[in-house]
Symmetry: C2
Subunit: 339 residues, 2 copies
C-alpha cells in the first residue's frame, strides 16, 4: 500500500479539515498517511475523531506557510515548513506522494527544490482533473487541463511536452487507450493564436504518439471533446478559476432570467441543492485535485478551500496514481518522443 | 434617429433571421436600418414578414463571405461582399454604425480597411458585453470584457489603452461614474502573470483616470467585481467561448450529480426551460453583442448563431451607442491619457 504524506498545515481549513479527511481515509482504505505539521495541534484534532491508528502517523514540522505569504520569502524564512518537510519525505522515499491544499506557489517551489525532474522534461506542469460532458458509455467523466499555473508563458516545445505528459496520464490513470488531445486556442484553424500556438499545432499534428484533435476553444473545455487539453499556465489558470466560479454565475444568471416565471422559480428552488453540488464538484472536492506532472515524485495539489472529503479523495487519487505507475509511464513517454 | 447598416448575409441563420430581426426592430423602434446584401433574397424574406417600410432600406451587395472562409482570401476574391459594402456605407457616413453576425475575422478585416482608427489608438479591441452578478441596486447587470479576439498577444501599453477605452465605454454606455477596471491574471499579486501583465498592472495603478482594482482572476469574471476586465485577445477569446459554453456544461454536470436524487431530477426538469434561457443569455441574444472599440466608426459584432431577437437587440445597442456618443467619449479619453 502506498504511503502518502499529507501537508496538515496547508489550506484555508487546516489543520482541522485536513486531519479529518485523513482520518476518514484511514477508516475507508488501507492507505497509510503521514500527517506533516505541528504535532500537538494535529494530535489534538485526531483525539476528537475516530480513525485507524495503524494507517496514520504524524511527522512533526514546526513551521507552516500561510496562504497569503510570498512563497520564496516564506520558504527561506521557514526552513521547517510542513510543505518543505513533506516534499523531503517523498524525495527521500519515506513516502510515495505528497498531498497539499496549501499556498500553491509554495507547493510548487518546495517540489522544485526537493523533487527530481524526469529526465528530458523541460518544465513540470500542474494538471487539473475536471468534470466534463460524457458522450458515450465507458468515457471517463473527468478530463485533464494542463498547465494550470506551474508556468506563465510557454514555447511550442513546452506545449508539446505537456501533451505527451497529459497523454501518458490519461492512458494510465483513465485507462483510455488513445486519449484525444487538444490545444486550447482562440479558433479552430491551425494558424490561429500566434506563432507559439501555430508551431505547437504543427508539431503535435506530426507526432504519431498523440491522437491530436487540433485546436479546441473555450466552449470545448466544458463539452469534453478532448480527454487532455494543453495550454500555457496563464491561460489554464484563468480557465480553471473560471470553472470554479461557474456554479455561482449560473445561479445568478438563472435567477435573473427566471424572475418573472413561477415554474422556473420553483425549479430553481428545487435545484438549489443541486447547484450547491455543482459548486462542490467544480471545487475539486469530488474528484481529487491537480497532479503536478514532470517530476519523479508526485504532488497532488488540492484547492485551498478543500474540506475533509476533498482531502480524502486527493489521498485516494495520489495512492491510485502511485499504484498505477503513472510517473514511470510519463517518463517513458517523454523518452520515447525525444528518441 | 441613427441609421444602422446591418450585414444581412452574415451568420449561421442569414439572411432569414437577420432580416426577421430588423423587421422586428422596425416595428418596435424608430431606428432606420439598411439591410446590406443580396436584394432579391432579402426582399423575398421581407415579403413574408410584417415590418415598417419607412424604417428599412435594402442596399444591394452581390457577394457574401461564408462562415468558414479564410477572411483575407475571401475579402480579396469578393470585392462586393456584404460586410465590406456595409463597412463602406458607415465609413462614407451613409450609416452611423454596422451590425454583423458574420465571419468574425472578415468583420474585423473589413472594418480595419474601411474605418479610421481613433487618433492615438494602438490597436482596436473587440469588447464583449456579458452578464455578471449584481451586488447593489443600480449596478449594471452587464460588464465588459476586452479584447476578445481583435488581437492575439498584447504589450502593456495595449492593455492600458484597452482599459482606457473600456472605461470610457462603461462611463458613457452604462452610466457608471467610476467604473471598476480589473486586469485578468492568474493571481491577485501585482507581480503575477509575467512581465507584460506586471508592467500593465504598474501603469494602470498609476493612472488617475482609471479606478483600477488590480488583478482579477477567472472566478471574478463571473462574480462581477469589475465593470471592465482587460486582457489580450487570446485569453479573452477563450474565456468568452467558455462563457458561451457554460449553460451546456452546468446542465451536464448537474445531470451527473442529480442522477440519484428524485427532488433534483424534478427540479432539473422544471428548470430545463430556464437553462435554455441561460444558454440564450450567454449567447448574446439578450444583450446585444460585442462593440469594436478604437475606430471612429462603430461595429457591433454579434454571435454567429444569433437569431432574430439577438439581431434586434444588437441594432438597438448600436443605435444607443451612437446616440450616447460613445465613440467620441473613447477618443477624448485616449487623448486625455496620452496628454
Amino acid at each position: 500500500m502506498p504511503v502518502i504524506a499529507v501537508d496538515a498545515m496547508g489550506g484555508d481549513f487546516a489543520p482541522e479539515e485536513i486531519v479529518k479527511g485523513v482520518a476518514g481515509a484511514s477508516l475507508a482504505t488501507a492507505i497509510e498517511c503521514v500527517l506533516v505539521g505541528d504535532e500537538p495541534r494535529i494530535q489534538a484534532v485526531l483525539d476528537t475523531l475516530s480513525y485507524d491508528p495503524s494507517h496514520i502517523r504524524i511527522h512533526h514540522a514546526a513551521d507552516a506557510v500561510g496562504m497569503q505569504e510570498a512563497p520564496r520569502e516564506a520558504l527561506r524564512a521557514k526552513r521547517d515548513a510542513s510543505i518543505s518537510v513533506g516534499a523531503k519525505l517523498v524525495a527521500e522515499g519515506q513516502a510515495d506522494a505528497l498531498v497539499s491544499a496549501g499556498n500553491t506557489g509554495a507547493c510548487l517551489l518546495a517540489c522544485a527544490r526537493e523533487f527530481r525532474v524526469v529526465k528530458g522534461v523541460r518544465k513540470p506542469a500542474l494538471a487539473s482533473v475536471y468534470p466534463r460532458h460524457v458522450d458515450h458509455p465507458g468515457q471517463d467523466p473527468l478530463a485533464l487541463l494542463l498547465d494550470v499555473g506551474a508556468t506563465v508563458h510557454c514555447d511550442a516545445a513546452d506545449l508539446v511536452q505537456f501533451a505527451v505528459m497529459g497523454n501518458a496520464w490519461a492512458r494510465r490513470a483513465s485507462k483510455t487507450a488513445r486519449p484525444k488531445v487538444g490545444l486550447l486556442n482562440m479558433g479552430a484553424e491551425p494558424f490561429r493564436g500566434g506563432d507559439v500556438l501555430a508551431a505547437a499545432h504543427e508539431r503535435l499534428a506530426a507526432l504519431p504518439a498523440i491522437d491530436f484533435i487540433g485546436n479546441v476553444e473555450g466552449s470545448d473545455v466544458a463539452e469534453g471533446r478532448a480527454d487532455v487539453i494543453v495550454c500555457e499556465g496563464l491561460l489554464g489558470s484563468v480557465v480553471l478559476k473560471f470553472i470554479e466560479g461557474i456554479a455561482g454565475v449560473v445561479n445568478d444568471v438563472a435567477s435573473y432570467a427566471v424572475r418573472q416565471r413561477l415554474l422556473w422559480r420553483l425549479g430553481m428552488r428545487l435545484l438549489s441543492g443541486g447547484l450547491r453540488e455543482v459548486a462542490h464538484l467544480t471545487e475539486h472536492a469530488a474528484y481529487g485535485g491537480a497532479p503536478l506532472l514532470g517530476f519523479e515524485q508526485l504532488l497532488v495539489k488540492v484547492h485551498e478551500r478543500s474540506r475533509a472529503p476533498a482531502i480524502a479523495n486527493a489521498v485516494k487519487l495520489a495512492a491510485k496514481t502511485v499504484r498505477d505507475g503513472v510517473v514511470a509511464e510519463i517518463a517513458a513517454a517523454v523518452q520515447e518522443v525525444r528518441a
